[in-house]
Amino acid sequence: MPMDAKTIENMILESIPDSTVHIEDLRGDGDHYSAHVISSAFEGKSRIEQHKMVQSALKGKLDGELHALAIQTSLPKNT
């Protein structure tokens, strides 16, 4: 069952409140997304840790309902 972009965005925003989230449906099938998450909460964390924060925001949907998610994380530009 595909997920929709808004649901993904909201789950990430709920888990990482101080963030900006850009979701893109890579194939238009609701099953392959990319998420770019910008947040100061990522400060000082390794890439793996940052990605884990996004993964846990999606609480087990990855490799289940959500088949493929390309994750990109970054700090806000004006830090």
């Binding site: 890439r47 793996i48 990605h51 993964q55 990855l62 490799d63 493929a68 998610l69």
Partner: protein, 112 residues
């Protein structure tokens, strides 16, 4: 039961400097993300062992539990989990991957 799988994983990542847990084989990847990591390693001329998780559902679940990481592909360098496709690609483009390989004494061909 899980210990048996973890032992197998430990053995693979101990006996091989670079191990890629992927969908499909390096020759025939079955997923875009896995193919991307294969491509990146090939571009760098890195020797690696590929493990096709589609062939073994115990390993497919086991490696996710081992790394506490929910997705495939997973790249290990000298027993350390480095990341999935997105992280590997970012590190390659920023040069961090090459630095890591150098640090760990893994041979690769520098970019032309």
């Amino acid at each position: 039961m899980q210990n048996v799988i973890f032992d197998r994983i430990e053995k693979d990542i101990s006996n091989n400097d670079v191990v890629l847990y992927m969908k499909g084989s390096a020759e025939f990847p079955q997923c875009g993300f896995s193919a991307l990591v294969v491509q990146t390693l090939s571009q760098l001329g890195v020797t690696f062992k590929d493990v096709d998780v589609l062939e073994d559902k115990d390993i497919r679940q086991g490696i996710k539990d081992y790394a506490d990481w929910p997705t495939i592909p997973q790249l290990y360098v000298k027993k350390e989990f480095v990341g999935g496709a997105d992280i590997i690609r970012e590190m390659y483009e920023s040069g961090e991957l090459q630095d890591l390989l150098t640090q760990k004494n893994i041979t690769f061909t520098a970019a032309a």
